[in-house]
Symmetry: none
Subunit: 223 residues, 4 copies
Amino acid sequence: MRSDSTDEVPTRQRRKEARPQELLDAALELFVEKGFTATRAEEVAQRAGVSKGTLYLYYPSKEELFKAVVRQNLGSLIAEGQEAVAQFQGASAELLVQLMLTWWERVGRTRAAGIHKIILAEVRNFPELAQFYADEVIAPAEALFGAVLGRGITSGEFRDLPPRETAHALLAPMIFIALHQHSVGACPVQGCATMDPESLLRTHLDLVLRGMLRRPGASESGR
Amino acid sequence: MRSDSTDEVPTRQRRKEARPQELLDAALELFVEKGFTATRAEEVAQRAGVSKGTLYLYYPSKEELFKAVVRQNLGSLIAEGQEAVAQFQGASAELLVQLMLTWWERVGRTRAAGIHKIILAEVRNFPELAQFYADEVIAPAEALFGAVLGRGITSGEFRDLPPRETAHALLAPMIFIALHQHSVGACPVQGCATMDPESLLRTHLDLVLRGMLRRPGASESGR
Amino acid sequence: MRSDSTDEVPTRQRRKEARPQELLDAALELFVEKGFTATRAEEVAQRAGVSKGTLYLYYPSKEELFKAVVRQNLGSLIAEGQEAVAQFQGASAELLVQLMLTWWERVGRTRAAGIHKIILAEVRNFPELAQFYADEVIAPAEALFGAVLGRGITSGEFRDLPPRETAHALLAPMIFIALHQHSVGACPVQGCATMDPESLLRTHLDLVLRGMLRRPGASESGR
Amino acid sequence: MRSDSTDEVPTRQRRKEARPQELLDAALELFVEKGFTATRAEEVAQRAGVSKGTLYLYYPSKEELFKAVVRQNLGSLIAEGQEAVAQFQGASAELLVQLMLTWWERVGRTRAAGIHKIILAEVRNFPELAQFYADEVIAPAEALFGAVLGRGITSGEFRDLPPRETAHALLAPMIFIALHQHSVGACPVQGCATMDPESLLRTHLDLVLRGMLRRPGASESGR
DNA sequence: CATGAATGAGACTTCATTCAT
DNA sequence: TATGAATGAAGTCTCATTCAT
């Protein structure tokens, strides 16, 4: 069993293995689009091509489904980041840019970015989610950036800046763009020129890195 | 009874006139705390000290109530900003800082900041709100900051930066702080050090303005 | 207000005052007929002539509705019994018979008897109900009968019998009849002669009291 | 694998033959604990160590499963009782006591007693069960006890009592104890002293038999 | 104007039963 | 035979909005 290679007839077994992923995909899409509360469980099931009951076969509640979505989409990234930081040889500014661009590629410009919107919007109504997110996303991410900044400051590459506040200044606009894209940016509003996220990103990196460096001229920020 | 000797007579008449304001206050509080959808109309009425029916006497629906809240809290500010820009004599950087600090005082650090959270979170589920917000808030605000940046670039004070993107880099972190304060920042999560918004703000201004100026040394950022 | 005497037009106010009772009546009927779990909240509402939502205006959950039914139907009786015991002058056997007949009139032969069925059947699935019922019904009832038996034994009227066990022997068959009436006895089974509860009751009292008395001949039990 | 060296070979074959019994055992346990409706088919299967589908291979529905449980646990007893009555030589009171004690040993104090609880509770929601139970349990049991009472009255041993009512007075408390044990008696309620069923039983027999006999002194009730 | 009783659509979740493997 | 994935009807409870008083 399990001998066959790739594109199969969807036998019962194959379907069973694919279900969790299909459900997570559908859930991410809908949660990002409509938010956690406003997304109906049945809708998720439908978009995954199954019935309401089936969803509950794989995830015991809507809340657990959401947690699974978060874990799949954000969990792995942190680990990779830690790896990258440990191995990197070179200017801290470059490492920072690399981390941020990676985040942009893997989260910021994908649907996963919408997860931040959901958290931001609904965490106060679901206290359990707050702790979950603080533990599994916020804390590790802060540690990661804090480490890189500390390294740059120690090496004399950066000015002597407060790490957490600086990390915030670095990340906030990126997350904000991501947020925006799944919110007002996704609405067909008239007369409101949509912004190009990539160009926002470039300006932001240029601006903030230049502000951080001890000798501004030395940086060739952007891509 | 109840006729206290203060400067205002809280007669039925007085109350009647105060109603809309009381309702708007209650609504802002609750909308910010729980979001638009999750706030129950009855709760708003209760907090304002009236009955459910009375709420509907003043506002025909929850959505209209929300719009009124937005208008009251964000509408006036734009006008004031335009005034300030027109009259200001001095360095553009200073004007920028002044605008941003004013925003911080009047919106960012108040409950009104939570309105952004609501819009961000729920605008996609209420398409009508999107247009309303784009017209009444986003467009004027962008125009305002674009003008100041343009002035600084023309005068040679600032580097030659793209105005809209730079405005974004300036504002995003501030709005993000505001957002955060009414979201994860308001949750009692263990082991997640809460950040001081004012110090975030200072670091941010320091960093970004320095990056914007043609001759960095000249800036005396912060307050 | 409230000046009018009895049979009114069902104005909104009047209806509001009558609602709780109407709902309790409907609930008792249905709970006894189908059990607690099998009774749908909406059905209760319907039978009371209101909508689903209205039920929840008066009782916050099906479980609380049930508790209210129990309190109304069994709660008052205990108090009356205690009163009766305190004031009674005469043979203990007579007092016993009086208590039991009262119970029969007020509970046993009425719909309220079905409450016992519900408790018996579902208490294990609703642990909170167990404590509620033990406290509000079982304990007081046991105390009551224990007191009367103790009195009869002390006065030499009854043999020296264990009070709790004897109380049980006295009450169990009566409750059992009551139970039966709302269960198998209410089913239209063919070939199963229905029993007359009153004659069961008479035989039971005759039998057990005779067994309790020190000098059997002296008793003219039954009615 | 799993071929233990006991007297039975637990091969697939053996298991297959044992299945129905294992399912009935699991079902009895769960039905008694939670009632018929509240017991989930899957749970029964699980406790019997098979899958949900397998349960339906042996019993076409939950209702049929329940009937099978009743037949197995109560069906045989009646026949034995009839045998005992036919062969017994001696005082009718003794025969009565023997029958009742046998019932107590085989049903009353075992899990099977809980079946009465289920019937009592749910028969009205499953009309088909009513007829089934009336035919297979109630009618034969009544006939049995009626016969013994008739014999005792005819022989002058008992007073001239109505047979059905007296049978009821005899049996009701016993069944009631049994019921109670699987209901309130099984709940961990605070402050509600649990009763000893055997002592209840003794008091009951003592009391009622004494009331039945023409010459009370002659009875040596109890065990 | 003000009230708050009433409505009913709608959301999450459970579970008996079926059926492809 | 045996499995367990899948279904979908059904049940509890919520809440925006209406309207008689």
